[in-house]
Symmetry: C2
DNA sequence: GTCTATAGGTGGATAGAC
DNA sequence: GTCTATCCACCTATAGAC
């Protein structure tokens, strides 16, 4: 007790570095050696904390989803207006992109065919949670009359998630984050 | 002349196999060994036709873009109605997805950070061409009054490309191509 | 144009000392 | 919990015979 704030524990720092690597290079585009070099430890040390890359990857998604859910709760706390909530949802993506990253699960969706099965399940769960959150926001907006759209909210939620992920991917290729903003604004303005 | 149809020449068959591998596993998710095994030749033989993976990758995109452009011309020949042309544009993606693949350049956009520079330029060019084609269709539809949208057609074209790519990515993760169809229909119906 | 053989490097992962 | 040392599989790529 009353100790100076401990530096983040090693496992967390490993996850931090691995997360950024997956978000920029994909799951097949980085190695334990990359993490080891950044943290200046040996590969063997990493295997102590995460016995296999599959385990590391799974924990990466679990932590990412937890953080993401916290951001969604923060949105709910910050505004109750559905359209504003959608804008803030899109801003999560925009902030990640401006930090030079892609959505972790967007990257993993691209790598999907090569992922260990446990990671596949976690990736889908992440998107399921996103869809569910968006459905709730969309339904509230429709009932309140502040959002206008036809058909199942779930279909629209899926369009939104896919469109934001895709817009992010293209914006990065062009090195132009404003491409994402323009796309996100259009998508939300159409509701 | 009058010979039996020759089997596709070796370079083309290599490109065929490599194309499918990139479309399913990504550029970092396959190796010369994978191609060699499928075609039952040696890796050394592949290097005779494509000295490096970077060269193979670049030619892959060039051929893909050529094929894609031919499909766009076929759309123009098949219908002059802008909304119908958009539906057929989306159907190109849907057909690729039902063949168990992703868009080649969608996959490469995910791998973007790890690509050799020549491949990066080709990927962007592919998307540029897609945007330009869509802009022309959208502008015609707007002038004819059959499509309704506000703002620059280029912005909308970019939304469409990104959204279709993203929808494709998610649909594959869930192993459900109909997710793509639903998204594409919504996107086009909103115009 | 395809082969065998191999170079030279990196991948994930483990054993065992400290 | 981190290290050294190592394993073995795989990677891209090349030399040179056929």
């Amino acid at each position: 007790m009353a100790r100076p704030a401990p530096s983040a524990d090693t496992a967390q720092r490993i996850l931090d570095v691995a997360e950024r690597l997956v978000q920029t290079r994909g799951f097949n585009g980085f190695s334990y050696a990359d993490i080891a070099e950044t943290l200046r430890v040996t590969k063997a040390s990493l295997h102590y904390h995460f016995p296999s890359k599959a385990v590391l990857g799974k924990q990466l998604i679990e932590r990412y989803e937890t953080t993401f859910l916290a951001a969604l709760r923060a949105i709910e706390a910050g505004s109750t207006e559905p359209r504003e909530q959608l804008k803030r949802y899109a801003k999560i993506y925009a902030d990640v992109l401006r930090d030079g990253r892609m959505c972790l699960c967007g990257m993993l969706a691209s790598d999907y065919a090569t992922l260990p099965k446990p990671m596949k399940e976690e990736v889908k769960h992440f998107f399921d949670v996103n869809e569910q959150w968006l459905v709730a926001v969309l339904e509230r907006g429709r009932k309140a009359g502040s959002l206008g759209f036809k058909g199942p909210a779930l279909d629209l939620a899926r369009v939104l998630v896919g469109s934001l992920e895709g817009a992010m991917m293209l914006a990065r290729s062009y090195g132009d984050a404003s491409r994402f903003d323009t796309a996100a604004e259009r998508l939300i303005a159409s509701l």
